[in-house]
């Protein structure tokens, strides 16, 4: 039987291929690096990621191109997502350089696992088929399980890793079962193929099949677990609190970015004809996440845990944008691009803000003092005005107040929801956002209004130049995105080209 090798345009996947080469190079170089010099691996990975960021950027504006027999797609959406993920990775590596030494997990494998996770995310961003999407998701998840439990001598970190692993494996199972049912119903795993079958002659019958409803529920639940939407969020507070702070920051921005991009691709491209069913489910998850995430955050005394709950709420806002993309006219769905571009811009804004907020926690961290409770920030604002100002800007952005990135992002999300007549969603979003201002500003109040107790150790910030540089860049970026968002909004709009 003659085997025909298909024509594969390898250059389209240059970012992924380059990343695998980088991973192998770091693994090999790690063997020849002494225990004291492991930060070199971080620097090496950082420069590799920067180069790959430009490689990914070069794919912008080339239209929709598929290769690898349709398993891989390169369009503006995937380029946007990849560049933001690689930027987040670069920041995370810089945040980690000093922190890894402090928490005593400075191993070369740490950077290798981050890069593996990034590989999975890039594959997800370009996954044009349920199979390639799922494999990317698994690569990302398995690397994240390891990263969460990377402080091996800390029981909290190990517990976090185990919880995340068990829930994550369960979620993968749900998702895979949903994918299998979809394959059984449509005979294909290709996103375009599924859309074609569902839109074809038998499409209405397949779409109305109870098995299809079950498949959609399973897929939504799988995504719900991975993105920690309420009520699938139980693992998140523990996993985010126990994980190394740099990894919490990385997961809360990069993992969410990649998974949301994949969610949009799967639902908008493969399942437009059954949009009424999944949109309702997502609507419910968005409302629950916004409300519960914000209310649960109020009760927290640990700042890290509070930010973990707030990330649930932020995932809810993002999902609001996804839901608000669908507009129903006479039972037929029309996708309006405003929702997707709002989601992308918000994820970008959240990336710079949240990395900054967790970076502030790392700034306070020392060998004998973690400093991730709200109490630990008592009086810091007055004693250290620059650090206080930086944290204040990140909190303004998280709460969605001007002149920050978070404000513009929320403006767009609520604008999209109102324009597409999801009034209830917008109202609930705005109200829960007002609740969030309460707990963010409680920390600001502790920083500026309260004085440090005698028993508390003197504040001593990390002096690592890489960490300080990242924080300055993130503060500037948060303000820049809030004051001059024009170019980035154009980029978010442009990334829909050829998508919906």
């Amino acid at each position: 039987m003659p085997v025909v090798i298909p024509d594969i345009a390898l250059s389209l996947a240059a970012t992924e291929i380059g990343l695998v080469i980088l991973i192998c190079a770091v693994i090999v170089a790690d063997m020849f690096t002494s225990m004291e010099n492991k930060s070199l691996m971080g620097a090496f990975s950082f420069f590799g990621v920067v180069v790959l960021g430009f490689v990914a950027l070069s794919g912008w504006g080339g239209g929709v191109r598929t290769t690898f027999s349709g398993f891989y797609v390169l369009d503006n959406l995937s380029v946007f997502v990849k560049v933001v993920i690689l930027a987040a990775t670069g920041f995370t590596i810089l945040l980690s350089l000093q922190y890894a030494k402090i928490e005593r997990f400075n191993h070369g494998e740490y950077y290798v696992m981050i890069l593996f996770a990034v590989f999975g995310m890039l594959v997800m961003a370009s996954g044009n088929d349920l199979v390639s999407f799922y494999l990317g998701l698994e690569t990302m998840s398995i690397s994240s399980y390891v990263l969460v439990s990377f402080i091996r001598h800390d029981p909290l970190s190990r517990e976090a890793g185990l919880k995340y692993f068990l829930m994550g494996a369960f979620a993968s199972g749900l998702l895979l079962y949903g994918i299998a049912l979809v394959y059984g119903l449509t005979g294909t795993t290709s996103l375009l193929g599924i859309a074609k079958t569902l839109g074809g002659a038998n499409g209405a019958a397949i779409g109305a099949d109870p098995v299809m409803v079950l498949a959609l529920i399973l897929i939504v639940a799988g995504f719900g677990f991975k993105l920690a939407f309420v009520p699938f969020h139980m693992w998140l507070p523990d996993a985010y609190t126990g994980a190394p702070t740099s990894i919490t920051a990385f997961m809360s921005v990069a993992v969410k970015m990649a998974t949301v991009a994949a969610l949009m691709r799967v639902f908008f491209i493969a399942f437009p004809s059954v949009a009424g069913k999944w949109n309702l489910l997502l609507w419910l998850l968005a409302v629950l996440s916004m409300v519960w995430g914000n209310f649960a955050a109020i009760a927290q005394t640990s700042l890290k845990r509070m930010l973990a709950y707030s990330s649930i709420a932020h995932a809810g806002y993002v999902l609001m944008g996804v839901v608000a993309t669908s507009s129903f006219v006479d039972g037929k769905v029309v996708f309006l691009p405003l929702g997707v571009s709002a989601v992308l811009f918000y994820l970008l804004a959240y990336m710079v803000t949240n990395l900054g907020a967790f970076g502030m926690l790392i700034l306070l961290c020392r060998e004998d003092y973690r400093g991730d409770n709200i109490e630990d920030w008592r009086g810091v604002g007055r004693a250290h005005p620059w650090a206080g100002l930086a944290f204040l800007i990140f909190f303004l952005s998280l709460a969605g107040l001007p002149p920050t990135a978070g404000f513009v992002g929320k403006l767009f999300l609520f604008g999209a929801a109102i324009q597409n007549e999801y009034y209830w969603l917008a109202v609930i979003g705005i109200l829960s956002s007002a609740v969030s201002a309460y707990y963010y500003f409680r920390v600001v109040m502790v920083m500026y209004m309260e004085t440090r107790a005698e028993s508390q150790p003197v504040v001593e910030f990390s002096k690592a130049p890489s960490l300080l540089a990242v924080l300055v860049i993130l503060v500037v970026a948060t303000l820049f995105l809030g004051i001059f968002p024009g170019g980035f909004i154009e980029a978010a709009r442009g990334s829909i080209a050829g998508f919906i």
Partner: protein, 170 residues
């Protein structure tokens, strides 16, 4: 010629499974499970799925069962045998069995009307054989998932070593 073998394997599967769930000794149960897997792979061969048959033996009988036996041997089996075993899961197990039977009935009653059954036309005795056909699509059409899976396995391997190694601080 196939029919007697089919009955042989089927009776083997059912008999070994019943014996498996009724043994008090876990080691015996695990070994009977291996036997079930072997009979099952025989059924796969009869159905023309040679690849699945080999994978069944390699992965289940080989890999997963070894893992089971390892974890059983970490417990003190001789004590467990003497204890009266109860688990209060009879109703749950019966409900699951009924559900699974319903599912099988649902699929069988629709026959091959599911589109997935039609997309690959490899019947019994088809040429090329099952393994060859799978190999040819795996390295051409499914090249991308294949490569990503290899990276996934490498990540899992390194991750497992990082977490399980006694000490990384050389």
């Amino acid at each position: 010629m196939e029919l007697p073998f089919f009955y042989l394997f089927s009776v083997g599967i059912i008999g070994a499974s019943i014996l498996m769930v009724t043994r008090a000794n876990v080691i015996h149960a695990a070994l009977l499970l291996v036997l079930t897997f072997f009979f099952l792979s025989g059924v796969y061969v009869l159905a023309g799925a040679e690849f699945l048959a080999v994978v069944q033996i390699l992965l289940y009988a080989g890999g997963i069962m070894v893992l089971y036996l390892f974890s059983i041997m970490l417990m003190s089996v001789d004590v467990a045998v003497r204890l009266r075993q109860f688990h209060r899961q009879t109703i749950f197990a019966m409900a699951t069995a009924v559900l699974l039977a319903l599912e099988i009935w649902m699929v069988l009653s629709r026959g091959t009307s599911y589109p997935a059954f039609k997309s690959f036309g490899w019947g019994i005795g088809a040429t090329p054989g099952n393994v060859e056909a799978l190999g040819s699509v795996l390295y051409t059409q499914f090249l991308f998932p294949f490569e990503v899976a290899s990276v996934l396995l490498l990540a899992a391997m390194i991750g497992a070593i990082v977490l399980a190694k006694r000490t990384i601080d050389r």
